[in-house]
Every structure is written in structure tokens, then in C-alpha cells.
């Protein structure tokens, strides 16, 4: 399982990358592998505001659908519209081309609640 050291993780399988006051969010390599071929991503609207733990987006494979939760609270400032036509980006490049949305961070201290790579791998191993 590929779990980059420089990212923060939620136990619900989202990764977060801080970029000043923004946080980029996607799903982990482990999550995309468990889901199988992603066929559709339901994106939030730019401008919507979420609290940490709210369901923000939905990722569908042929036989399952999973909610994507906000790892931290904030306002959606950008979504990866390329996923509408190329949902397979989530499988092929989960940490890069497959990012899902960017939040404007409401409270930076919420990032401290997230897991580091080691902590997340332990969570993932328990589920696999």
C-alpha cells in the first residue's frame, strides 16, 4: 500500500495535503484499491461549507458507493472537475491527478486530529 509520509489521513480513508490556508483532499491508494474501478464521482458545489466529518462527495464503483468525508472543516474553493469525465484518475493517481476537492481551512488545529502515515496504515491493515 502506498501511503506518502507527507500527508495527513482520516480513518475514513481520505488524505489531506495542506497548502497555506487551503487543504487538498482525496482518497488513499488503499481506498481506491478496495473500491475497485471508480465509475463516477459526485462532487460538491464550490462555496458549500462543511464541518469535519460531514459527507462531502460520493465515489461510486460498479457495485459500491462510498461517502467522502471532510477531514477538516471549511469552505469548498475548488473541485477536480476532470473527475467528471475521467473518474479513473482516482484509481490511477489517487494522490495527484485524482485529488477531489480543496477546502479553505476554518480551524488549522483540526489538522492535528488526523493520522500520520503510520497511524493510517495500522487502520487500513485492520480493515483489509
Amino acid at each position: 500500500m502506498n501511503t506518502p509520509e507527507d500527508l495527513k489521513y482520516a480513518p475514513t480513508h481520505e488524505w489531506s495535503r495542506r497548502d497555506d490556508d487551503l487543504v487538498v483532499v482525496g482518497i488513499t491508494d488503499f481506498a481506491q484499491d478496495q473500491l475497485g474501478d471508480v465509475v463516477f464521482v459526485e462532487l460538491p458545489d464550490v462555496g458549500e461549507t462543511f464541518s469535519a466529518g460531514d459527507a462531502v462527495a460520493v465515489v461510486e464503483s460498479v457495485k459500491t458507493a462510498s461517502d467522502i468525508y471532510a477531514p477538516v472543516g471549511g469552505e469548498i474553493v475548488e473541485v477536480n472537475e476532470a473527475l467528471e469525465d475521467e473518474p479513473e484518475r482516482l484509481n490511477e493517481s489517487p494522490y495527484d491527478n485524482g485529488w477531489i476537492f480543496k477546502l479553505r481551512l476554518a480551524d488549522p488545529s483540526e489538522l492535528d486530529n488526523l493520522l500520520d502515515a503510520d497511524g493510517y496504515e495500522r487502520v487500513a491493515e485492520e480493515e483489509s
Partner: protein, 455 residues
């Protein structure tokens, strides 16, 4: 009668294999208090007695096959070939086509059905069918609210079938969605005020009374306010009338009985739902899609299933699970049997007969008795006849005279005593003559007991 293959030896052998002494032992998990309930049910019957019983019940019905009764469902011509093909036992006794490899028959037939409904409605994306027209209207309203997100109001024309409006309210009320009715003005829907919080505007054309609505104008009014426009149409009428896609409707729904299913005391028929590309992901119910198999051959599968209840569970777009596959298949076979010209012929002759009926009624000297045909605005194959006696009493009096006609118009329409009359391509001059004669009799000074009994 039963349908069990088990001989006493079979049962003994099976019990031995399972390792129990009796069938009752298999039910040991059931609390004793529950076992062997006292049920007031008759004993079973052999096939001859059974058929006699059912035929006896059927014989108590009178006047079946009338072509003068409408109100959403009508007796239309169904060629013999339609039920022969659609009701083959492979189609009748199959389950939902989850194993695509052994369900190409139903999957392909459904793909073809979706194409036909798309052609009729002028909209691109059809599901595999729904329960009936009324529940399809309710599901369309729910779809509009989902799509519009924060908007929580739906406008529905009173021209929409009263039963469809009732069902929409049943579905929407518990979710806190406001359903506002638009009253008709001279039999059709006036231009409504559409507020910003309206998610959808629902209009039926031809409407419940039979008249053709100004759909293009109504669609514009909805769209100007950012609401979806939902057209409710008898699919038979779409053989000749403008398609919902032509006037910009976002969703077309309706009951599909008229294009290939018998009236059957109201069901099973099927509902259809066809939507614009934008609404594809919000569409409830099953959908069949085309793909290829391992060898590159064309194949059909149920697709976009991640929207559905068996995967999304509490987050599904709807709880709808089944469709009305077999009834939809009847329609698909029937549309193929009729073809575009046959369907047009059926629709045209229905229109012709209905207008002929209206004209003959208007010329039959019934005004003095208090009857009045509402021949304006344009109607398709149903229209209103105002009556001097209450609608149900009129229907009963006609039935007593051997004529099955006159769907009562609910009093909420403000038309006083009125019924909807209908004609199809099967209506004959003899049917029309019988109706006129019966109306003339009703028009005579009524015997007292009729008014007392049925008022």
C-alpha cells in the same frame, strides 16, 4: 391442489440426510405459542373447481371492453402477436437480470424499450419503467427537489390526474415538501407564478379532462424561475402531439397502459420516466446500458446501480427496487408491432372518433335536458360532458342502460356535475348511438328513486 414434487419416501430420505426425525423438528426455533395458528381459510380446490370459482367471479362483471371510459387508462387495439411474444414463459418467469450472461433477452428488450420511450418523448434517458403513472409523477417531483437541492416547493397543475396528485402528496408530505396546486382556467392550466423556491412545475397534457395544455409557455414559465418542467403525457398521444423534448421539458412521465397493456381493472400497467442528460444521475429505478463482453461482443447490463437501494441503502435516490418489466415489455413489443405508422393510425382514429362523438352529442338535442359538451379548447380523445344529474348517478344510469361511460369529474374542478367521455380507435358508430340514446333517456324527467338512490 399443490405444486410439490415430494413423495413420502423423498421426505423420509431428506429428513435422514438433514439428521432430524420430523418436519416439525425443522421448526423448533419457532416459539410454541406461534405454531399452527387458527386461520379461517377454505380447503384447497382441484383445477376444475378452481376455474369454476374464478369464472363465476368473472361472470359477475358486466360490460367489459368499453371504449368510452378513459380517465388515464383505455381499451386500445392490441394485436394478437403482442401478448404471444411478450408473455413467453422465459420473460414471464425470469428474475431481475442481475446475471447479464443469461439475461440478454430481458436486458436487450429493455434497452430497446428505453430507446422507444426516448423516441416518443424526445428526451434521451429512460429508465426501465416504474410502477404506474401516478407513482412516476411522485418520483419525478422528488427528483426535481433533489436536483434543485434547497428548493422545497413543487407546483402541480390541477389538470394532472387527481389520483396522481394524491400520490404525489402522499410521497412528498412527510419530507416537508410543499405541493401547491394550480387551478385550471377554462379547462387548461393558466400561466403560473413561479417563485424562486419552486423546484419543479408539473403539467399533464392532454390533461385529466382531455384538453391539450400550452406546454411550451408553461415550460418557459418554469425555466424562467429556475425550476424543472415535468410533462405528464399519455404516450399514445405522443404519436402525433409534440414531444416533451420539443418544448423543453426536463422530465417526461406517465402511465404506459395505452400503448400495449389491457386495462385489467387498473393494473398492472407501468409508469415511464424519461429525463434530460443533466438528470441522468438523479434518475430513480433500474437502467439498462450497452457495453461489450470479454470477446468484444455487444452486451447489455443493468448499469448505474450505485444509485439504487441495494447499494446505497439509506442514501439511495429512491427505495424503488423493482420495475414493471413485463408490462413495459408488452409495450415494447406492441410498439414494434404497430410501428410509427400503426401507432399514428391508432392515435388518429382515437382523435377522429372522440371528435365525432363530441360533434354528434352536441347535435343530439341534449342541451334542453341539461347536457353540454365542452368542445373547446383543443382536446385529444377525451372531453368533458356537463350533466344535469350527479356524475356517479349518470354513470350508473348509463351502465343500467348497458353503456359503460362517464368518468366522474371531481367536484374540486368547479364544473358542477360533469363526466369525462373518451373514445378510442375501437369505438364504433353503434357505441356512439347507444350512448346518445341512453343520455336521451337520462335526460327525460328523472324518476324520483334514481335521484334519491345515487345523489
Amino acid at each position: 391442489m399443490n405444486y410439490l414434487p415430494h413423495t413420502p419416501d423423498d421426505i423420509a430420505m431428506a429428513l435422514r440426510v438433514i439428521g432430524v426425525d420430523s418436519v416439525d423438528e425443522l421448526f423448533a426455533d419457532m416459539p410454541k405459542a406461534l405454531r399452527k395458528p387458527d386461520m379461517d381459510l377454505p380447503s384447497g380446490m382441484d383445477e376444475t373447481s378452481l376455474l369454476e370459482h374464478l369464472r363465476g367471479l368473472a361472470a359477475k362483471n358486466k360490460g367489459g371492453g368499453s371504449s368510452l371510459l378513459g380517465g388515464g387508462v383505455r381499451n386500445h387495439f392490441i394485436p394478437s402477436v403482442t401478448p404471444h411474444l411478450a408473455l413467453q414463459s422465459e420473460f414471464v418467469t425470469a428474475y431481475t437480470p442481475y446475471q447479464a450472461e443469461v439475461a440478454q433477452g430481458i436486458l436487450q428488450a429493455t434497452f430497446e424499450y428505453q430507446t422507444m420511450m426516448s423516441e416518443l418523448t424526445g428526451l434521451p434517458v429512460s429508465n426501465a419503467s416504474m410502477y404506474d403513472g401516478a407513482s412516476s409523477v411522485a418520483e419525478a417531483a422528488l427528483l426535481a427537489v433533489r436536483q434543485a437541492k434547497k428548493h422545497n416547493k413543487v407546483l402541480i397543475s390541477s389538470g394532472v390526474h387527481p389520483e396522481s396528485r394524491e400520490v404525489a402528496k402522499t410521497y412528498l408530505k412527510p419530507l416537508g415538501i410543499e405541493v401547491v396546486e394550480i387551478a385550471l382556467d377554462n379547462m387548461i392550466t393558466p400561466q403560473p407564478e413561479v417563485d424562486d423556491d419552486v423546484a419543479g412545475v408539473i403539467v399533464q397534457s392532454p390533461n385529466f379532462l382531455g384538453y391539450i395544455e400550452p406546454m411550451a409557455d408553461l415550460a418557459n414559465a418554469a425555466h424562467d424561475a429556475g425550476a424543472l418542467f415535468i410533462a405528464v403525457c399519455d404516450p399514445l398521444s405522443l404519436a402525433v402531439l409534440k414531444a416533451p423534448g420539443d418544448y423543453g421539458a426536463d422530465i417526461a412521465v406517465g402511465d404506459g397502459q395505452t400503448i400495449g397493456n389491457p386495462v385489467a381493472f387498473g393494473g398492472p400497467h407501468f409508469g415511464y420516466m424519461v429525463v434530460s442528460d443533466d438528470l441522468l444521475r438523479q434518475l430513480p429505478g433500474r437502467i439498462v446500458g450497452e457495453t461489450t463482453d470479454e470477446e468484444g461482443k455487444r452486451a447489455f447490463v443493468l448499469t448505474l446501480q450505485a444509485r439504487e437501494q441495494h447499494i446505497r441503502r439509506s442514501k439511495a435516490k429512491s427505495n424503488i427496487c423493482s420495475n414493471h418489466q413485463l408490462a413495459a415489455l408488452m409495450a415494447a413489443v406492441n410498439l414494434s408491432a404497430l410501428g410509427p405508422q400503426g401507432l399514428r393510425d391508432v392515435a388518429t382514429q382515437s382523435v377522429h372518433n372522440a371528435h365525432s362523438l363530441a360533434k354528434q352529442l352536441a347535435g343530439a338535442g341534449l342541451e334542453d335536458a341539461g347536457f353540454k359538451v365542452e368542445a373547446e379548447p383543443n382536446f385529444f380523445n377525451e372531453f368533458v360532458l356537463r350533466s344535469p344529474v350527479p356524475a356517479k348517478a349518470l354513470r350508473r344510469a348509463l351502465a343500467d342502460a348497458g353503456v359503460q361511460a362517464g368518468v366522474p369529474v371531481p367536484s374540486a374542478y368547479g364544473l358542477g356535475n360533469a363526466v369525462v367521455l373518451s373514445a378510442t380507435e375501437l369505438t364504433t358508430q353503434a357505441d356512439i348511438d347507444a350512448l346518445i340514446a341512453a343520455l336521451q333517456n337520462v335526460g327525460q324527467p328523472a324518476p324520483k328513486q334514481v335521484e334519491v338512490a345515487y345523489d
